[in-house]
Symmetry: C2
Subunit: 111 residues, 2 copies
Amino acid sequence: MAEDKSELLKGTLDMLILKVVALGPIHGYAISQRIQQISKEFFQVQQGSLYPALHRLENRGWLDAEWREASSGREAKFYKLTKKGRKQLEAEVLNWARLSDAVALILRTAE
Amino acid sequence: MAEDKSELLKGTLDMLILKVVALGPIHGYAISQRIQQISKEFFQVQQGSLYPALHRLENRGWLDAEWREASSGREAKFYKLTKKGRKQLEAEVLNWARLSDAVALILRTAE
DNA sequence: TCTTGACGCCTAGCTGTTCTAGGCGTATAT
DNA sequence: ATATACGCCTAGAACAGCTAGGCGTCAAGA
């Protein structure tokens, strides 16, 4: 009743997408699979989260998109990181490190 | 221009509050100071985030509130963890561990 | 004296992210 | 024939966090 499987992503989605795209051009559907697979099924990126996020990142100039043929033989929209995207990824990774350090500080606080 | 200092908390606020309250009864204003201090100024909990969160946690039965006199001599609303709150804190800490592990897996992925 | 700032509580309303729940079209397998 | 995987998309709801205000008290300094 309060055991949300919701809000798993907690604002990390952009960073995760940028990271996966940084590994090499990849299309949307595959991005969500890859995130799920690498995270050992912890993250399950819903399509209703994925596609708006991709459009967001593209609009901000962090991703470039191009229609190409996927390995399946079908057309798919491949994304790759822009220079700005690479910088953004670095910034987000740094910020994540600081955030999780700060959280750890608080969680470690014994009375 | 995109260097948000916003959204620092990324859904961790509830957990941080529960943790700080778990250290002992404490009033709202002091909670935000304590979080800021322990996190070495990383987290700055705005009052517009803090108080709604406290009411949320109280409504969910995770916190109990009581007006008492603060060390300053003024009346303040002191919060303490309920049993449910303690369970919730445990669950959130566990989930945070899983989440940050999953993020780490993805960030560590070299090509 | 007056004003500023810290203390301590609160809310309304905006924005942004994520989810649910739907839609579309193609191909393959049952 | 039908389901399932692939692959894209959106609208709308829910919710968290922020900005920007408000209220009242008290101490310190101009």
